[in-house]
Each structure stands twice: as structure tokens, then as C-alpha cells.
């Protein structure tokens, strides 16, 4: 039963009442949400086979009933592949590391094999163990997923040698496209536009950079996904970048070769999905706009792009197909382009695997890429012609990461998902995730929680659905980037389509600071906090089996808070007798809702506009609201401000990870900005620098150690 706000008026004459809303302990803070569009688009289908794919039109599996698909498939960590396999009647075997033993993909599979301990090089990159798993389970095919061995030619070769199908392109295509230097040469030969740069193995980075002209991009030859990739604007940065990228490339890909090319300022990252079979047919399945990135990793993607016209799209698609055909590509692949403001496009690289963001292409084209990959691997010709490939509606994907968006747009965070609820109650929402409530986000793997995909007939519809979905997404136990995602998709520049890969640093030059409330938003937040508090307090006075004779307070004070600059410093919130009305700063708001104080989501109506309130706990607070009685507010003014500890002389780890190198020892003098140590987390190396000039007092970490977030690394005097 929930406490409603229907309270008889006489409760209100009970005189001054002391009470407060400590949003810190009992009810946390509020993540704010903006109106929910009542109109649901025309696409309200939901296929019973695919639980998480509201709004996705799967094509009917043509050969599903035929014999040839009695395959067993081995795959690492890919629940959505399993769904397709199940739909096609293919048995699956999940390979997993020991920490993933109870992961979603393992539970979904018909059979599971543990291939080693948590570190990827001992499990998901351990070819011997995976080959053994393939043999022991009698799998006839392997789907390699997104990362790990998906673009590893050696793995594909070994599978081929044993007569096991690799669901992906042939070895030679992987080899050709996997090497960025070679792929560029092939692209040039196939008359694909390429970026000016140095097509060779880098030895003297500074000289090459000078030849090409700054800014330059240094990246791992074998790399992908932004790892081992750095931009340099001058000689010093080139040297640093070269050093870090070499290390990262070596640790992530086991190949430290780098390449350098001209860095195109203010570009868009647009990629073309291609699909080719073993019979020489190839299609382009339109583009994906992936410009919203941080540290060269994609955050928000959409399909189609607002920027491309039909001619450019076709030109890009045709070049992508040329490239695919030049390497006799088969299976699904992605050709990445940089597009400048004049719609010139340059080939970047080709990913010879399924991309993380493939669902948005599936949604607008109606093709199930996993199914197509399996068909192609089995040797079937493509079912579609280029003119069959439509753009139906609009799809947007947000990558929900376990990371702190307030630090460099996202530094990894780890923890246990103490509560986890996907917004699957909404239509046209698809969530691809490999985790569930209780899962651990560990330092061993990418901190991605899920891909949240929404679909609409128009872009506006898809965006509005995304807003809803983000507001209804409940993640507790780890810091996540939903606040940033929500800001991006509601930013005027994003809405108008005015984006580039520099979107985040341009829009938030001082870093992301969270949502800025408008005056109206502030009033609504205060009103909901007050109403929430009223219901919580009402309940606190209700003891079952006894008669309660207490009333509600006639007025509340909202304590001064830097979050509310538009309101007078001690605005008064007056819940009026005609509940559920709340007066804030002279304006009357009607707050109504079912007050289920145990639920993480509180759908409210404020002046009849639907709002979603998330009740948080502890440190995740975005807006600190203290609702107090006038007395408590007055007395709070006597409470001393507590001085926080001076952190400039203390270096703490901003994230969990492992210490790669420590550059100082006690007694050293360091300059402000000088590197003190390097922490590697989620395969990214981060240089920790001194916040001030001083002498090193003590060093609390050493290379090879694992550190947690907030752990003391180095103290200065």
C-alpha cells in the first residue's frame, strides 16, 4: 500500500511541525526527467521470440526449418547472438572465464565451457582453451563476438584448419583489413578516398609527424576501439603519445606497431555497414552516425545520419562495397569513414566483425545481421538486392557504461549491480546487455553495461523514446553515464544534428558537470522532493496497531543550495491544505503520484505533466535537496561548515585499476603537471600528474599492484 497525498484538511491545522527530508539516507536525490511523450509511434510491434527487441522487425529465418542448421555454435559473451541462434534452431555453447560463470550469456546457452581465469589473455584470448572447447563440445561453428578474437586471423586460420566455420570473413580479409597500414594501401588501390598519412611502420614519430603536419593521430596498427590511439598537436605530445600508444598496443593487441596520419579537425565519424556473401555479392546497409565520442570511443550512435544526402550515402556505400569486394569479403563488416564539413569522406578502417552498434542498422533495415552472418558462413547467397535495402524510421543507440561521466566524460568505475532494471516496459526499446542484477562490473573487461536502442518513425520520436528509456533505466551499485547520455540526446546541437567527433569537448569545455536545472525545473524538483518527504514522514508516524494523531507540517523550508541559483536562498515550500498542491517560491504546483517508497522509480505528475523521479541513495546524488521545517532550517544556520581535506598534496586513484609504472620515489621534487604514475584500467593507460609543485613525501603504490578508486597513491609534502 502506498501513502497517497489525500489527507484530510484538519491534519494541516496541527500547528508548526518539525520535519525534514534527508534525501541522503532515506530517499536519496532525484534524477530529473523531462516530459514523457504520450504518443507512441506507429511501430509498436514486439516479437515474442526476442524479448528485448520491442520495435525491431526481424526478418523471418528462411532456412530455419531446413536441416543444414543443426549447428552447434561456440561464442563468447554475446547474448544477442544467442537469441538469434535460438530463433534459428541452432544449439549454442558459451565459452566464459571463471568470473563470468553466471553471466547472462552463460545462462542462455545450451552448454557452457569455462576457458580460464578472469584476465582476458588467459581466457577469452586463449586460443588453445577455446579450440579445446570447440573440440570437446563438437561445435561446428564459432561466432567470435565483437572484440577479443573477432578480428584475429590466426584464430580464424586455426578454426579453418579443423574444419570449423568461423562466422566472419575469411582469413585473408581479416589479415588485409586488420592491419591499418595494409588496409589503407588496399583501399587506395580500390579507389577509396583515404587520409593523407604515413603508410608504414613508425619508428621516428616526430619526424613523420612534422612531414604530415600537426595535428596528427597516432594509432596502433593492429588496434581498434580507440585503444592505443592518441592525438598530438606538438612534438612533446607526439613523444608521449608514441610511448603510451606503444605500451597500450602491446598490452591490448600484442602488437606494438603504430601508424601516424593527418588528424582531420572537426570531423564526423560515419560508417557504412556492408554485407557480403561467398558468391561475390555485396550490399551496403546504409550508414551509422557515430560522431559522439569521448577519447575516440563511441557513446551515442544513430542511423541514418542527419548529415548525409542520398548522393553522398550512395557514394560512400559504393566505395565501401568496392573495398569489400577488393578483399573478397564475406560476412558483415563495417567501413569507417571520416566526413568533413564539406561532405568529403575519407576511409578510416574496416572492421571485419559485428560492430557493437549493429542494432541500429538492424532496426532501420529490418535485417538481422547475426542471422545474415550465419547464413553467409554456411555458404548461402544473400537474399537481398541493394534496392531492397530500405531506411525505415530512425534508430538511436546509447552505450550505457559503468563509468563516472563527471571525470573526463567517463572514467571506469567498478562495483556490483545491487539493483538493475532495464526499461523494457516501454515500447520500441531494445536493450542488449550481458549482465543482470547482482553482476559484477570488474576491472577485467570493458565497462559497458548495455546498449540501449530506441526506435521511432522519425528522429524526434526515437529521441523522445530514448529520453524515456534513460529515465526509466535503474542502475544501482556502480556509477554510470546515463546523466551524460541524457544531456547529449537533449542538447540543442545534437537535436539539430550539428555534431562532430569534438562534440563533447566543445559543448562541455570544462568537463561534464551534470544537468543544469532551469528555474521551472528547480521548482518542480523542490515540489517533488517536498511531496516525497511529506509521504515519507506521514508513513514514519504510522505504527501498525496503534492510533496515530499526528498531522502534517504547514510549511517547509528548502535549504540554500548551490544547485538552485534561480531561487531565493531559502525558498519556502508550502504544501497547501488542498493537497497534492505544493507552493514553491510563490508558484503553485500540483504533485500527484503513487508513493511507493520502496520503488526506485516514482512516476509523478506535476501540473499534470508526467515526470519520472528516481530515488537514489548515498553518493550518486545529483541534486542535494534538504527539506526542513522552518525551525530546523533556522537552526541549521548555526551549524559550522566542515572543511574538506586538502587534496592538492594527495594523489588518489580516480578509478580502480592496476599500476603500470611509478615515476617518482620519496624525496623527489615534482613539478606541477609532472607524471607521477600510470594507472591502467579497462585497458586504458592513464597518466596521473602532480596537482602542485612539491616534494614527494611517500609513495603508497608500486608497479603491478591493483588499486581501488580513491586509494592513496602518492603524498606530497
Amino acid at each position: 500500500m502506498s501513502v497517497g497525498l489525500q489527507v484530510s484538511p484538519e491534519w494541516w491545522v496541527a500547528g508548526p511541525y518539525q520535519w525534514r527530508l534527508s534525501l541522503v539516507r532515506t530517499s536519496g536525490g532525484c534524477r530529473w526527467s523531462v516530459p514523457v511523450e504520450a504518443a507512441a509511434g506507429p511501430y509498436q510491434w514486439r516479437l515474442p521470440l526476442v524479448r528485448t527487441s520491442g520495435g525491431c522487425r526481424w526478418s523471418v529465418p528462411v532456412e530455419a526449418d531446413a536441416g543444414p542448421y543443426q549447428w552447434r555454435l561456440t561464442l563468447p559473451a554475446l547474448p544477442q547472438v544467442m537469441k538469434t541462434c535460438r530463433m534459428m534452431g541452432i544449439q549454442t555453447v558459451a565459452v566464459h572465464s571463471d568470473v563470468d560463470a553466471s553471466a547472462v550469456h552463460v545462462k542462455m546457452a545450451d552448454q557452457a565451457v569455462c576457458v580460464g581465469p578472469a584476465p582476458t589473455n588467459q581466457s577469452y584470448l586463449n586460443m588453445d582453451a577455446i579450440m579445446e572447447a570447440v573440440r570437446s563440445t563438437g561445435a561446428q561453428a564459432v561466432h567470435p563476438g565483437y572484440g577479443f578474437l573477432s578480428e584475429n586471423k590466426e584464430f580464424a586460420r586455426r578454426l579453418a584448419a579443423e574444419g570449423v566455420a568461423f562466422i566472419g570473413p575469411d582469413t585473408h580479409a581479416i589479415q588485409a583489413m586488420g592491419d591499418k597500414i595494409e588496409s589503407k594501401l588496399i583501399a587506395k588501390a580500390a579507389q577509396v578516398n583515404t587520409i593523407p598519412g604515413f603508410d608504414g611502420v613508425v619508428e621516428d614519430a616526430v619526424r613523420i609527424a612534422l612531414d604530415i603536419g600537426y595535428p596528427v593521430m597516432i594509432k596502433a596498427s593492429a588496434g581498434g576501439g580507440g585503444k592505443g590511439m592518441r592525438i598530438a598537436w606538438n612534438e612533446e605530445e607526439t613523444r608521449d603519445g608514441f610511448r603510451f600508444s606503444t605500451q597500450e598496443a602491446a598490452s591490448s593487441f600484442g602488437d606494438s606497431r603504430l601508424l601516424i596520419e593527418k588528424f582531420i579537425d572537426n570531423p564526423r565519424h560515419i560508417e557504412i555497414q556492408v554485407l557480403a556473401d561467398k558468391h561475390g555479392n555485396a550490399l551496403w546497409l546504409n550508414e551509422r552516425e557515430c560522431s559522439i565520442q569521448r577519447r575516440n570511443q563511441k557513446v551515442v550512435e544513430e542511423a541514418p545520419s542527419t548529415f548525409l544526402d542520398a548522393d553522398t550515402r550512395r557514394a560512400m556505400g559504393e566505395q565501401a562495397v568496392q573495398l569489400a569486394q577488393a578483399v573478397q569479403y564475406s560476412s558483415a563488416g563495417t567501413v569507417e569513414f571520416l566526413v568533413d564539413s564539406h561532405k568529403n569522406f575519407y576511409f578510416l578502417e574496416m572492421n571485419t566483425r559485428l560492430q557493437v552498434e549493429h542494432p541500429i542498422t538492424e532496426l532501420i533495415t529490418g535485417l538481422d545481421l547475426v542471422q545474415q552472418m550465419i547464413r553467409v558462413a554456411k555458404g548461402y547467397p544473400l537474399l537481398h538486392k541493394q534496392e531492397d535495402i530500405p531506411i525505415n524510421g530512425w534508430a538511436i543507440e546509447s552505450r550505457v557504461y559503468a563509468e563516472d561521466p563527471y571525470k573526463s566524460f567517463g572514467l571506469p568505475s567498478i562495483g556490483r549491480l545491487s539493483q538493475y532494471q532495464e526499461p523494457l516496459n516501454l515500447s520500441n526499446v531494445r536493450v542488449d546487455s550481458g549482465i543482470s542484477e547482482g553482476s559484477d562490473i570488474s576491472i577485467y573487461y570493458d565497462p559497458m553495461i548495455s546498449k540501449l536502442v530506441t526506435y521511432g518513425a522519425t528522429r524526434a520520436e526515437a529521441l523522445s523514446k530514448m529520453e524515456d528509456a534513460l529515465d526509466n533505466y535503474v542502475i544501482r551499485g556502480v556509477t554510470h553515464n546515463i546523466p551524460l547520455l541524457r544531456e547529449i540526446i537533449t542538447h540543442p546541437r545534437f537535436i539539430s544534428g550539428d555534431i562532430s567527433t569534438n562534440f563533447l569537448p566543445e559543448v562541455y569545455p570544462d568537463g561534464f558537470n551534470g544537468h543544469q536545472l532551469t528555474a521551472g525545473g528547480q521548482r518542480e524538483l523542490l515540489a517533488s522532493a517536498a511531496a516525497l518527504h511529506v509521504s515519507a514522514q506521514l508513513r514514519a508516524q504510522t505504527f501498525l496497531g496503534t492510533i496515530s494523531s499526528l498531522g502534517l507540517p504547514p510549511s517547509l523550508c528548502v535549504c540554500p543550495s548551490p544547485f538552485f541559483p534561480c531561487l531565493p536562498p531559502s525558498a519556502c515550500v508550502c504544501p497547501s491544505p488542498s493537497l497534492p498542491q505544493v507552493e514553491v517560491g510563490g508558484e503553485s504546483l500540483v504533485v500527484s503520484g503513487e508513493w511507493d517508497l520502496a520503488s526506485p522509480l516514482l512516476p509523478l505528475k506535476i501540473n499534470n505533466t508526467p515526470r519520472m523521479l528516481q530515488v537514489l541513495q548515498g553518493l550518486q546524488l545529483l541534486f542535494k535537496v534538504r527539506v526542513l521545517s522552518p525551525l530546523a532550517a533556522e537552526l541549521s544556520s548555526f551549524m559550522p561548515e566542515k572543511v574538506p581535506e586538502d587534496t592538492s598534496s594527495i594523489l588518489r586513484s580516480p578509478m580502480p585499476g592496476s599500476v603500470v609504472a611509478v615515476s617518482v620515489k620519496p624525496g623527489d621534487t615534482v613539478a606541477e603537471g609532472q607524471e607521477i604514475c600510470v594507472i591502467e584500467a579497462m585497458k586504458m593507460q592513464n597518466s596521473m600528474t602532480a596537482a602542485k609543485t612539491g616534494k614527494v613525501k611517500s609513495v603508497h603504490c608500486k608497479a603491478g599492484e591493483t588499486v581501488g578508486e580513491g586509494d592513496l597513491l602518492v603524498e606530497l609534502e
Partner: protein
Amino acid sequence: HLWLRTSFGGLARVKHGVVAATASQVSLQQQCRRYAVGQLSVKERIDKKRQEALLGGGQPRIDAQHKKGKLTARERIELLLDPESFVEYDMFVEHRCSDFGMEQDRNKFPGDSVVTGQGRINGRLVYVFSQDFTVFGGSLSGAHAQKICKVMDQAMMVGAPVIGLNDSGGARIQEGVESLAGYADIFLRNVLASGVVPQISMIMGPCAGGAVYSPALTDFTFMVKDTSYLFITGPDVVKSVTNEDVTQEELGGAKTHTAVSGVAHYAFENDVDALLNLRDFFNFLPLSNQDAAPVMESHDPSDRLVPAMDTIVPSETTKAYDMLDIIHAIVDEKNFFEIMPSYAKNIVVGFARMDGRTVGIVGNQPKVASGCLDINSSVKGARFVRFCDAFNIPIITFVDVPGFLPGTAQEYGGIIRHGAKLLYAFAEATVPKITIITRNAYGGAYDVMSSKHLRGDVNYAWPSAEVAVMGAKGAVQIIFRGKDSQVEAEAEYVEKFANPFPAAVRGFVDDIIEPSTTRKRICRDLEVLASKKQVNPWKKHANMPL
């Protein structure tokens, strides 16, 4: 009785002590009392006295109190209690000292240095005393003690908790032995009320010398960070006796007592935070030992499954996890009021609700020292269990304990005697006792942690539970000492003992349950056990191993 004199004498050296307070009050009091008694009617005199009582030591002293970041005695009561519910007693009581000029009018304050009475918190009755630092530094006179005793006596008669808000420089030195007698009167009542009504002490300023024994005798001692101190003797006396240099904060601040000494149970940020949280805390407690623990309305379904529990215990037996994660996930609305969160962290104790009912939760914390039992954690757990038992609060115990901590430090410190306290407390308790073995329950510590053998009402094991004398490696080393096939033997031992079956087949656990159903099971059991009646043999009182 030398210690008593020393410690009480030391009070004058407390920074906010009595001596300093009296000296500067003279001019202030002259202003306050410029009227002739004879010219006023009785009614006017009553009003006048009431006005004076409300002002305590006068506005300048109130301002000084505020300047220190502290509230006045009356402001504190107002904030703690429901509006307009406070009923004050003894507003006209004055001290009776006639030495050192204390008999003069200007040295008399209606109500003296404490405000007492009763009121309501969320509608439930509570007796309160709040020491007034603005009057003689809150020092304890005979009259002051008498006022406190009066509310305590009545609280015991009607069966309602007593909350003391302590802010006192110590004994009223001018009164000498009368002040000491006052302390003893209070101590006696603290002892008599113990186990009859809940007693809570909130330390909101200095509390030194003999005065500290009243909080020590109460059930819970809370402190306010940076403004409260508890010590037997202040830093000056410490310096003169042991030549140690120590600040008030280091010696007896909130941090010291919540993390090092274990004297205090919780520290709050400031006065407002403390009093508002105390209101929340109060809602967990029954009014007396005759009263059932309160049942609140809960929005959290009692049959809620908690899937996250199925994966919380790591598959590697050596890997730690956070017992607080389990507690938060299982109790109502994640609302857990942890007692002594910074002290003996290898055991977690605190209050929560299950389907609205108050429960006391005790859990080994694998994250700290593998959750082993040592001296401090045994004492912490034992005191909490005894409080719950005294006040009809069911006890839920989460067990993951590798044993008692070995070593000379523990043995010399008397782990045998202190460990026995926890054993004693669990065995003696007659409230409903539900135990969940989440992982290890090894050796004597298994027996101690509310086992079936100590009259546990419902004892569950998770599939990850291991009830054994010790871990496989150690056991095999003893059983097969000197033999070769230890690896095989270890595998055999694991197969035989590293699971819940040995305990389950003997009925020492009632069931092996899916962790995700734990909340549902506990809620159901509590409902059944609500009518539990169990009586210990008649005795004058037990003789626990103190």
C-alpha cells in the same frame, strides 16, 4: 577512591569548565534580574521566572553556544520532539548551594542547568533531559541530578524510553559531595532502568569525569563530530599524570570513540543532523521491555525475490564480499541503521525492518579480517544481541566466519573471556532468532553465531555454506599428518564437508535455501515466530563473563 577525586577534580580544567563560566556571568545576571520581588504579583513572578528559564544563562551565553556550532538545550529538545509536544517539568527548580556566593540571586537560574520533561517522537512517548551549557557550563548540581532522576523514575513507571542530551562541564564544584551524590543517583537509575526502557545518550558537548558513566550505562551513546568529547580526565590532567600530549579531539572526540575505543555507537555531523537522525532511530525501538517492537507500514513486498543474492558469494572461497550488500538487499527498502560502523568492522550490527517489523541484524563481515571473531567484535556483537533480547527485537544472524582470530595479542587480551560474551548473549536470548549461513561456519565460531544448538529458531544454509571444524587444507593436514596423498584427501574432505549437507542431514540447519528467497523466508518465519514464548530458568540475575 582516589580515582574519583582525581577525575572529578580534573573537570575544572576542561576548557569549557565551570570556573570560566561563573566568572563572566556576573554582569550579565545583574541585567537580567533588575526588579524588586515585592512589587510583582504572583502571576507576574511566574511569568517572569518562565521567561528567565527559557533564556537559560542569558542571550550572550546562547550566542556563545551558537558560535561554537552548538544549539541550546531548548532548541535541541524542540528539534528532537514533535512540535508542541514537549511538557516541561521542574522549570522553577533552583540549585541549593550557599557557598562561594552561589546563594546570591544573580547566581540562581530557574530550572538550573538542565531542561527536563516528556514529549513525543512521531507520536510516541519519550522522556528527555537536555543539559544547558549556558548555565554554569551545564555543570551538575544536586538540583540538576534530582530533575534528571525525576524523569527517569517516571519513564520507568510508565514504560517509555529516556533520551539524555549531554552537554556539561562536569560536577558543580561549589556543591562538592552533593554533586557527586547526584551523579550516583543517576547511575543507580541508569542501572535499574537498564533492560526496562531503552536509554539513549546523545553527547553534544563535553562530558567528562564521573559524568561519562551515565552514557556508558545507557544502551546507546551517540556523539556529534567536532563538538563533543567524552573522557575520564581532560588533556591537562593527562599531561600532568602521564606526560602525554593529546588534544581533546584525539583523547575523547567522536572519531576516537566510534573508531578506536568503541565507547560510542555512532557519530553525527552536527546537532541538527544528530537530532533528526535520532528521530529516525527512535522509530526502531519499542517503548519498553513490555512493548513489542514497532511495526511500520512497508512498501517493500515481503515475498520479494532478490536475484542478486544468488551470485553474491564468490565462487573462490578465499574471495571477500560485502556482508552489507546482503543486508541492504534483504531488508525493507535498503534501510539499515548500522550501529558502530567504524569499530570492529569484522562484525556488522544494526537495526532494520523486515515487512515493517524492527529486527536486529548481526553479520560477520568477510571484507574485514575475513569476518573472524576477535575481542572487539565479540563484545560489540554481544552488547547488541543483549539489547535486542531485552527489548523483544528478533535477531537475524548472517554467518560467514572462519573462526576466532588466533595470536598472542588476542589470547593475552582475553579472547576466551570476551568471545564467551557473544556466545553467552546468543545462548541467553529468547527473542526469535533466525540464522543464515552464507558461506563458512567453522569451528567454535559456528557454535557461537546463533547456531541451532544455542536455540536458534530457524537456521538456514545457502548452497555455498560449509559447516566444518576447519577449512579443508588445515583439516587434511591434521587427519593425514605425514601421509603423502594429501591432495586426494583434500578433495575427499571438500566433497564430504565443504557443503551444507553434513549440517543439514543432522538437522543443524533447517533447510538449504536459494539465496534469492532469503527475504521471503525470513519474513514468513518472523510472522510465525511473532508469538514465540521462551523463558529462561529463574535466577536473581545471570553471571555473564564480564
